[in-house]
Every structure is written in structure tokens, then in C-alpha cells.
């Protein structure tokens, strides 16, 4: 295997892990974000308090420390998991906390008149959220959600530090074995950019498509 074939093969394997981590963590973050955001708007003080604690803990500590904690500390309490599971869990929980704030503020930004019209038409609270408020809030949230997705994607490079063989991990291995530091880390830089850039564009397009002629 030639030098370049080796690089492409290893980085390719790493890229698959990076993308897999991104997709799984993003799904978890989105689900947690919506649940958390809606709970934050609950009438029940206790429910709001629970979410506030979750959000503050995960915003107030670093993602790297959370990764270490879930991967290295939880096993001491008998909770052992694979590096991939730990990575998805840590990143999903961390970004879920931020997403819940995006969801909350998105829902609160929808014109109060929409709620009044829904009450006048006798919608239940759940019907109102599902049919009227969330579809409009989602469009307002899109730019923020897009930014977060890209941040999340880039943050997956941290998972190399809990032995998950992602793109950054493989680049490190290659660097240690070949010592071609410039080429390898430049390639790494380019790959991250080439993925992140279309993501930005894609979110912009989605935004345009969803608002076309409507708002």
C-alpha cells in the first residue's frame, strides 16, 4: 500500500466514525432539545426546575470533561459503555442543553396572536403546539439549529481523546507513524471544511425553501 493509499484509507475509516457520531449525537440533541424546550415552558415549576438544572450543568462544564466523565468515571459506578456510545451520549446531552434554549426561545418568539387565534378556535394546548406554534417556531429556530449542527460536527474531534477512532484520531495515528505532519493535518483541516461548508449551505437552502412565499 502506498503512502497516499494508506492516508486515504485510514482517514476514510475515521470519517465514517466522525459522521456516524455526528448524526447520532445530532438526533439525540434534537430530541432532548425539543423535550427540554417544551418542559421549560411548562406551567409546572418542578418540571421547569429539572430542565434548568440539566441545562446549567451541561452548559457550565466543558464537553471534554463530560466525555471523560461518561467514559472513564461512569464505569466505576458499574456503567460501562463503548467509546461510540459514550461519545454520542456526551455530545447529545451537551448540545441538547443548548438546543433546548433554542427551542424555548423559538416557541416564545411566535406571535402571541397565534395563541389567541388558536384559543378562539378552541384548540387544545397540545393541538395548538403541534399544528400552529411549533411549525412556525421551527422556521424561526432553523438558523440557530443549523449553526449548532455545524458546531456539533466540529466538536466530534474531541472524541479522539476517549479512544474513538474518528477522523482526528486517525490523523494522529498517521502523524505518529509517518511524521508527515504538514500534509496530514492540512488534509484533516480540508476534510472538516469540505463537510461543514455544504452543511451551512444546505441549512440556508432549507430555510429558504420553508419560508418561500409564506412569511
Amino acid at each position: 500500500m502506498s503512502f497516499w493509499e494508506l492516508i486515504v484509507s485510514l482517514l476514510g475509516q475515521g470519517l465514517v466514525i466522525t459522521l456516524l457520531t455526528t448524526v447520532l449525537a445530532a438526533i439525540l440533541a434534537l430530541v432532548l432539545g425539543f423535550i427540554g424546550g417544551l418542559m421549560r415552558l411548562s406551567k409546572n415549576k418542578f418540571i421547569r426546575f429539572i430542565v434548568a438544572i440539566y441545562v446549567e450543568v451541561f452548559r457550565g462544564t466543558s464537553l471534554l470533561v463530560q466525555l471523560f466523565w461518561i467514559y472513564f468515571v461512569l464505569p466505576m459506578f458499574g456503567l460501562t459503555m463503548s467509546a461510540l456510545t459514550a461519545a454520542v451520549l456526551a455530545i447529545g446531552l451537551n448540545y441538547g442543553a443548548y438546543t433546548s434554549e433554542v427551542v424555548r426561545s423559538g416557541i416564545q418568539s411566535v406571535d402571541k396572536g397565534q395563541t389567541e387565534a388558536s384559543i378562539a378556535l378552541n384548540f387544545t394546548r397540545v393541538q395548538r403546539m403541534r399544528r400552529i406554534i411549533i411549525p412556525q417556531a421551527f422556521i424561526l429556530m432553523l438558523p440557530n439549529l443549523g449553526n449548532q449542527l455545524i458546531e456539533l460536527f466540529k466538536s466530534t474531534s474531541l472524541v479522539a481523546l476517549i479512544t474513538l477512532t474518528d477522523l482526528t484520531y486517525q490523523a494522529n495515528v498517521l502523524n505518529a507513524t509517518t511524521l508527515q505532519t504538514t500534509q496530514i493535518f492540512t488534509a484533516l483541516l480540508v476534510i472538516y471544511f469540505v463537510i461543514a461548508w455544504p452543511m451551512t449551505k444546505g441549512m440556508k437552502m432549507l430555510e429558504r425553501k420553508m419560508t418561500e412565499g409564506r412569511m
Partner: protein
Amino acid sequence: MSEPIVRYNNVTKYFDDLQVLDGIDFEIQPGEKVALIGPSGSGKTTFARLLMTLEEITDGTIEVEGDYLWHEQDDNGDLKPASTEHLRKVRSNIGMVFQHFHLFPHMTVLENVMEAPVTVQGRDKKEAKKAAEEMLDKVGLLDKADSYPAQLSGGQKQRVAIARALVMNPKVLIFDEPTSALDPELVGEVLDVIKDIADQGDTSMLLITHEMDFAKEVADRIAFFDGGKIIEDGPPSEILYNPKAPRLKEFLERFMNTQSSPE
């Protein structure tokens, strides 16, 4: 006279320490069209919003067709705050058209009108579509069925909002300053639609308005609000041409002065 469709009993409303309604008694008869006039801050909008359950009642009771709106009777016959189910059941008799339309921007005109019949009333989609199209035809906007609200003029938006409220078959329809947010040249088309509904329907109407000519034309009765009370209440000819209360006289004079154009 038949049973009133709406009855306010000693209704009081506070916003924190500010009293906006002061022990109001009022009745609306089935099919009756009542216009509410008065200076801004006099309580007329809050009066109507209590009936739509957009504001919570502080004291007193409101009955709709003999059912309490904000209350329920327990086994001993004592009043307790209404459950959500009870509130929704009684509220289903009431509809409202807002000053700023509040159409659903993410839905087409047809979807706006169909949404509540399908989601809230559980009506069959085909039937609801037909009913919605009928209503849009009634307000003269069937050709805009597939447009989005953002593509309509203010007058058209308000006519869609009227169709959206009507398709639910409310027994009482509230209009909260339906033309105040419109450009002057668009006021007429909306008033025409409201007039049509008033003429053909047995829907009771509660119309908050600053259009005195229109109130005179449409209303069976006008109630004048001031300082959280209904000061005077009677047929348009009495209220507008033979006012008794000094506050009403003053209000009408000021109103005519600002309305008359210097020709």
C-alpha cells in the same frame, strides 16, 4: 323574550391593581347584534376578551346558553373554577375576529379555514374542505384559496379571518375593531362582509368599533363603555342621536369633530 345567549353577572376584572371592569351586568339575546363603543381603555375590549376566554375573570360570572363559562357547579351546587374540558365545551359557542387578523402564516388560505374544523371539531376532511370553500366564497375569496396570507392585502386577510371564524358555526361572534388595522380604502370590503353576515345570520354579534355609521347600520343595540362600566345602552337611534349620559355626549361630540372632514 327568549333566554339570553350570553349573560354577564356582576363581572369584575383587575389587571394587578388596575380595575378595568367594574361589576358589569349585561345580556345578549340570540341573534342580537350589539356594538360596543367608548374611549380606549374603557374596558370594552377586555369585556369581549373575557367572553373569548383570552383573559381570566376576576369576579362575577358569565353564562353562555345558561352554562357558566368560567365556572362549574359542584355536587352541592357551589361554583368552582371550570375545568379545561368544561371551558372548552362552553367556549365552542364563541368565535372571534381580531384587529390584526392572526391568520396562520404557514398555511394556505384554504388550510387556514379548514384547520379548526378538522383538528378541533374532528370533521371529515372532504366535508371540511367543502364547508371552507363555501365560507371563502361567501367572503369573496375562493380564488385565493391556495395563496398564503403573506400574499394578501389587509382587507383580504380580514375576510379570510372572518371565514375561518364562521366555519366553526359559533353562536356568538366577536369582532374586535376589525377594520382598525386596515388602510382606509380597504375598510369598505370588510364592513360589507360583516354586514352580509349580520343580515343573513342568526349568529349573535359583539362588535367593538369606532365606525359609528357602521354601528348604526348593523347593530340592534349599542353599549357605551367608560371607566370599566356600561354607562348607557340602547338602540342606535337613542345612543347616537339622543344620548343622555354627559360622558356619552362628550364622547360623541369629540368623535364627530375628529371625524368630520374640513371641506
